[in-house]
Subunit: 240 residues, 2 copies
């Protein structure tokens, strides 16, 4: 099965959680909007979003085409891919637990986006800067620690504490890696002060980064660098 | 199976999407924090959130206890309950599609919350009113219509347009009902002007409201009235 991933070509964004899973599994996939040729490129993505021919239209990227099936919503795509890529345990209870954690990771991601766009996605950051400063301060003071403490606790309760779910690597571990990477990019000063509180989370991040396929991916041109069009953005004035 | 729903006792909030599914199915359930007695009430909810004994701790309410399993995240709970309550088709592709729509409904719900709390959940509405006015204006101008137009389109493509998924009632239809109820409560003037654009969505809302078990539930004391502690809040200054 060749998977087709449809996502904005210039950012890691939500698509990155899917890319990491596909890369770790060594899956056959095309990053459609970043590829040229027939049925490829941004046109293909837009045709899909605007097209009338899709019986079950996605609301927004990312979406994944697998044969004739089109699946939207980041966490839903991982729910679908997890068992197919061997990145989640078999039992239903474990899969629901993995999905629950993934949804909480996406909630955190949404809140990161709000730190620079608290008023409107349709406005520039510069047009909502005072509100962004207040929002980011609250995020750093209250929300970020709630989430990271939760993930740390999940690891602590899942002895020996090396994985988020069960005894093997899952897509949730890959997503935790991405969250740490993103928070370090967006809030380097805050993270430098705080990381020691989340030793298990950081250790998991490091183990994921060292996996051969992930390391190769990160060193490749397929990994888009963080930038100020993405969800994790580095604005020094918000990093306090 | 007796289900135990854990959610804040004074609001509809996210818990309402679960309550509607349990009520429509005539399921045996306890709304734990709204019930008194041993193992009931707010104490039981808090013990669960703070307790050390839970191997897979939920991040926040709502969560559902089904036997020994504890399931968190609203859309995940519906993913679990859907097949057990007969509120979703059997095929995996249909279930993923239903879940995708539910996740988009929750995204809309999150954005509704942001209209009155764009700066911080930890602050009062009154302490973030200017930002809330800007956020609500953008929500009404851009976001609300995007979501409602999407749901209208989903109905239009699923001929004969009476259900969000397949040919029978699903939990997604119940959630669409709740979204319309909530938007009417929070933004009555805006909705009065806009509803005619979303004829299929409104018709679906009306059909759900007329279902005997839903009608009985809505008329009962189990249905908590909308209020200004919930997610849908009526602040006239935001309804423009």
């Amino acid at each position: 099965m060749r998977y087709e991933l449809y996502y904005w070509p210039g950012i890691q964004g939500r698509g990155e959680f899917i890319r990491l899973a596909l890369e770790e599994a060594g899956a056959d996939y095309v990053d459609v909007a970043r590829t040229s040729g027939r049925g490829r490129g941004m046109d293909a993505l837009m045709r899909f979003l605007e097209g009338r021919g899709v019986p079950r239209p996605p609301f927004a990227p990312p979406f994944l085409k697998a044969g004739r099936q089109v699946i939207g919503q980041t966490a839903n795509i991982l729910l679908f891919l997890g068992p197919r890529l061997g990145l989640v345990p078999r039992a239903e209870a474990d899969r629901l637990w993995a999905h629950q954690l993934q949804l909480t990771i996406i909630d955190l991601l949404d809140e990161v986006h709000e730190t620079h766009h608290p008023i409107a996605s349709s406005l520039y950051y510069e047009d909502q800067k005072p509100a962004a400063k207040r929002r980011a301060a609250d995020f750093i003071r209250n929300r970020m620690s709630n989430y990271l403490a939760h993930f740390e606790e999940v690891l602590a309760r899942n002895r020996p504490g090396r994985h988020m779910v069960g005894a093997r690597l899952s897509y949730v571990d890959l997503s935790i890696f991405q969250i740490v990477e993103g928070l370090r990019y967006a809030f380097p000063r805050v993270m430098a002060r705080r990381e020691s509180r989340y030793a298990r989370v950081i250790a998991l991040h490091d183990r994921v980064a060292a996996r051969p396929r992930i390391a190769a991916y990160l060193a490749s041109e397929r990994r888009i660098p963080f930038n100020e069009s993405g969800i994790f953005r580095h604005y020094p004035e918000l990093d306090r």
